[in-house]
Structures are given as C-alpha cells and as structure tokens.
Amino acid sequence: MKELTITAFLITALLFLAILGAALIFENSRTEEIRKSLEETDVLWNDARFFSGSISNASDCGFLESENLKIGDRIYSEGLKIQNYESANKLTDALLIEKKRYALLDLQFWENSIQIRKKCGPPFSTVIYFYSQYGRTAEQETMDRVLMDFKQRCGPATVYITFPVDMGLSSIEFVKKDYNITGTPSVLINEKAVLTGVVSTDELNKYAKCW
C-alpha cells in the first residue's frame, strides 16, 4: 500500500506541475499580447506626438483632436484588456510591468491632451481616475463601475485615463502632489475639480459636462 500511495502522490504532483505549466503558458501569452499591443501603440503615439508638436494654427485642430481621440480609444481598450487579464494572471507579475508602461503612456497622452485643449479650446473633457492597485476596497470597486459607465455614456466627449497611485511610479507621485490627490478613489476633472470617494455619474457630469 505504501508504494501505491507514494505513486499516487507523485503522479498527482506531476499532474499539478502540468496544470501549472499550462497556466503559465496562458499567462505568458496574455502578457506577450499586451506587450506587443503596447509597443504598437507606443509607435502610433510617438508619431502623433511629433505631429502635434508642430501644430501652429487652429485650422489643424480638428485633425489633431481626432488623432488624439483615436489613440485615446486605443489606450482605453488596452487598459480594459489589461484589467481583464489581470484577474487571470495569478502566477507571474509580468503583466504588472506592462501595466506600468501603460500608465506612463497614459501620462504622456494626458499631457498631449492638455496641450491640445490649450491650443484648440476644450473639445473634450479629461477625467483622470486615481486608484489603488494593491489596496482595493468596495468603494474603489464601486467607482470603477461608475466611471466605466460614465465613459461609455460620454464616448468621445471624454478622455478617460486611470492612474494606479501605489505602483512606485515617481511621475504619478508628482502628479498627485501637483493636483493635491490625497486618497483613493479620486477623480480629477479637466485638471480643476478633484472628487474623492464615491460620486455619482450626475456629480461627475456637473464638471465634465458631457451630456
């Protein structure tokens, strides 16, 4: 009986290793997909950035805004994909590194959006969501849902960007200080209004004015 129980244990351990291997393959393929996608977006982003830097008159604003929104939508969908994959990637933290890259890309995109608003007037609102990556609360999860719905309702009238405040990114720490973000969840609208805690879509719309 001893041999049987040991054999069963070894076989189970091997099966578990196989399951682990399969899970790692799936995780790595998801991370790789995000990495490739971010690389492509990075190229598009750099292209748009160089273009927008050379704008001198408002007649090009229409094109500029549409290009900016295109990239914004792309970054937003990638953000959703990362969010989707995050819960499934349990064994490795490679996706978190991509998430940091994504956050920095978002930061650059926000900077550019601010420049466009300055040059071309305010064609869209900026809604910046500060959340905690490692300290998720029911409050934060509620705001996740409220903001996702708000973005869907506003569509291209809103540039929606999310920043994790506790992933060790100095640039985001700087932004927090600059705009006096003291807790999570917090929402910064049009670089002026800071709303902390749980707020309704109507409250957000008071400042974003998208409907």
Binding site: M1, F9, T12, A23, S87, T142, D149
Partner: protein, 405 residues
C-alpha cells in the same frame, strides 16, 4: 494576484485529485478483477438474521426474497428478531412459516443482531435489513469468498430499490457510484464498511471479537473496522446485489445521513489510537482518509462560504451601490480567461467524469448518463454539495450528544 483563497482552493483540489488518482491506479491494477470471484469450493451453512423494528410494509417481502435465494434450503435458516416493534411487524412475521421468530425489548439494531447471532446455527451469518431485498443469486456468489479462512466479512452491492421520486433517484446514483470505489478498496484491504442492507460474516469471528457494538450509531462501520483491526480481511462480491428501500422524504434522508456521520465519527474516535500504527490499513489509510475527508469537507464548506459571502457583499455594496450612483446594473465584466484555478477545476471535472463512467461500467445496466441525465446533473451540482452541511449538523449533534436512531 495569487491570494490565500486561491492557495486553499488548490490545496483542496490537490487532495481530491490525489484520491482520484489513487483509485485510478488501483483500477488499472485491479479493474479486470472487479467482477472476478473465486470458484465455489464449499457451501457453508448460513443464518439470515433480520432485525425488525416497525417494518410492517416490507418485512414479508424481505422474507420472501430470502426464501427465493438460489441456495440449498437445508443450509439456510432465517431468524427474525422483532426489536419491540410498535406496528404490525410481529403479527405479520407470526404468520410466516419457515422462519425462527423472536421478540425482545427494543435495544437497537446492533443489540437485535447480537441476539440473533447467539441463536444462529449457521457458520456464516447474513445480516440483512428489514427493508432490503437480496437478488436471487446474491448469496451463492457471496459465500465463495469465505473459502479464504482469513476472510471474516463479505459485503455486496447495495442498490436503491425501485426509486420513485427524484430524491430516491439521486440516492440510486449515489449507491451505484459507491460500488466500484468500495471494490477497489478491497485491494488495499481497506473496505471500511459492511453496509447494513446485507453483509455476511463468519459467525465464530464475530462472536470472538465481541459482536456488534450497541453503542455505535453505525454498527456496520464499526464491525468492519474491528475485523480489520484484528487482522481479518473483508471482501466484496460486486455481482451480489441487494436492493434496499431508501428514504423518499428529505427529512428522513437528512436524519439517516446524520446517523451515518455520527456513527462514522464515533468509530473514528474509537480507533483513533491506531493512527499511523499497524495494522497499516486502518492506521495508515482508513483513519487518515476519514480524518482528511472530514477536515477537508468542513474546510471546503468554510472556503465556499467565504467566497459566497464575499460575492454577496460585493453584489450589495458594489453592484447595487454603483447602480444607485448611475452605473448600469446589467453591465458585468466577465473574465473567461483560463487561469490556474479554472484549469484545475476543468481538470478535476474531467477526471471526475471519467471516474463516473468507470463506476457506472462496474454495474452495467443499473444506470446510464444519457437515460438519467437530469438526476446526474442535480447529483453533481447540488446533491454532493449538501454533504458538508450535513456534516456540520452531525458534528453539532455529536458534540451535544443529541443523536438517536
């Protein structure tokens, strides 16, 4: 992020898969011998002992079934022990010829069996419930195993008799699925129960070890452990079938399972001194299996409760609240990406299905997935999930010492 809950789920899964793998290995080694039985050398004398308590609806049919067994009548006797029935059981038995009838004060099944054993003439005693109906060839197939002097007990395939309602159909599946695993336990000399519907014992051995324990709620489990502890073997005759009446009302079913769990706990505690000691089958396998199964069931229930309550909390404080704040209640983000938990779950499901098919194959014709699909679905999704709750209730009753037949 990998959480403690994830780790606990994987630990539970590992243990479950381990036992499934163990049974698969034993099946690979012994599967072809499942229906094999030794050739008949001698036919021993058999005393059927039927402890009877308030079984007026079934007792006559039970006696009739025993009388119809294909076995030399000169080698058989039927002893019915009325254990103080309050209904018409004794009156019915008085009218039946060819049986030895005794009446005694109510003392429980074990007490009635011991009473019958004292008066039995046969070398083998066949203990049978007063609502169980043995198949015609069940006895002649079962006695073959007693040619081995070391065999003290033989159990048979206990199956649900003529299930009428859905609860009984679920029990029918349950009983069928237990047959293969019990037969494979024989290979490890770890058959830990000789179920009450029908079991055969060597009379001199049962008397030598002291008879059935009258304080135990499941004397059929306790006697099996006692025989194993004394170094005897218990075999199983898969082809010997006995059909037993199963509870058709949820309350009776629940009470029966409480009794089983309490009796199992009593037995495990009684033999706990054998933990990790020889004889190795009890100390190194049955006791750890029982204990692990008990702990993991409660643990699994605690984990499930935590996950369920977390989801409920999330639903109330996130979903409903966000809807109140203007979010769309119907927008749900489903993550269908395979992760280590879902892959493990899928693997466990696949292995369990394979085991299900094998178990059904051991008793061909008794049930099929296609024919009994609704019962199988409910069995897998809900019926098995009720056991942990019953175990909690049994533990509570055991600790409060508030259990009875």
């Amino acid at each position: 992020m990998f959480t403690i809950t994830d780790a606990l789920f994987l630990l539970l899964s590992f243990v479950n898969i381990y036992f499934l793998v163990l049974f698969f290995i034993v099946f690979v080694l012994e599967g072809k011998n499942v229906r094999k039985a030794p050739a008949i050398k001698t036919l021993p004398s058999v005393s059927f002992i039927i402890p009877v308590y308030n079984k007026e609806n079934s007792i006559a049919k039970v006696v009739e079934s025993i009388k119809k067994l294909s076995y030399p009548k000169s080698l058989m006797e039927i002893i019915a022990v009325d254990d103080g029935s309050k209904d018409g059981s004794y009156g019915i038995l008085k009218k039946i010829s060819g049986i030895k009838l005794f009446r005694k004060k109510n003392g429980g099944r074990a007490d009635a069996l011991n009473f019958g054993i004292e008066r039995a003439k046969g070398k083998i005693i066949a203990c049978i419930d007063a609502d169980s109906y043995p198949e015609k060839n069940s006895l002649i197939k079962a006695v073959r195993f007693f040619d081995d002097r070391n065999v003290a007990g033989v159990t048979v395939s206990s199956l649900a008799n003529n299930p009428k309602n859905f609860l009984q159909k679920l029990q029918k599946l349950e009983y069928i699925l237990l047959v293969l695993s019990r037969k494979l336990m024989e290979r490890l000399n770890c058959i830990y129960v000789t179920p009450g519907p029908m079991a055969l014992y060597r009379k001199d051995v049962v008397k030598k070890v002291g008879g059935f324990d009258t304080r135990n709620m499941t004397e059929d489990i306790e006697i099996a452990w006692r025989l194993l502890a004394k170094g005897y073997r218990i075999r199983m005759s898969v082809d010997s079938k006995v059909y037993t009446d199963v509870p058709g009302i949820l309350k009776d079913w629940w009470h029966q399972r409480i009794r089983w769990n309490v009796g199992g706990t009593q037995t495990a505690l009684k033999y706990s001194h054998l933990f990790f000691k020889k004889p190795s089958n009890i100390g190194m396998f049955i006791l750890p299996l029982f204990t692990l199964s008990y702990l993991l069931t409660l643990f699994g229930l605690a984990l499930f409760s935590y996950v369920f309550l977390s989801a409920a909390y999330s639903f109330i404080f996130v979903y409903l609240k966000s809807a109140f704040l203007g979010a769309d209640l119907l927008s749900v983000q489903l993550s269908l990406n395979p992760d280590i938990l879902s892959i493990t779950g899928a693997f466990m499901f696949a292995v369990s299905m394979a085991w299900l098919k094998l178990s059904l194959g051991a008793l061909k014709g008794e049930a099929s997935i296609k024919k009994d699909l609704p019962a199988f679905a409910v069995f897998l999704l809900f019926y098995l999930a009720v056991n942990p709750f019953n175990l909690v209730a049994s533990t509570w009753k055991f600790l409060r010492k508030s259990y009875s037949w």
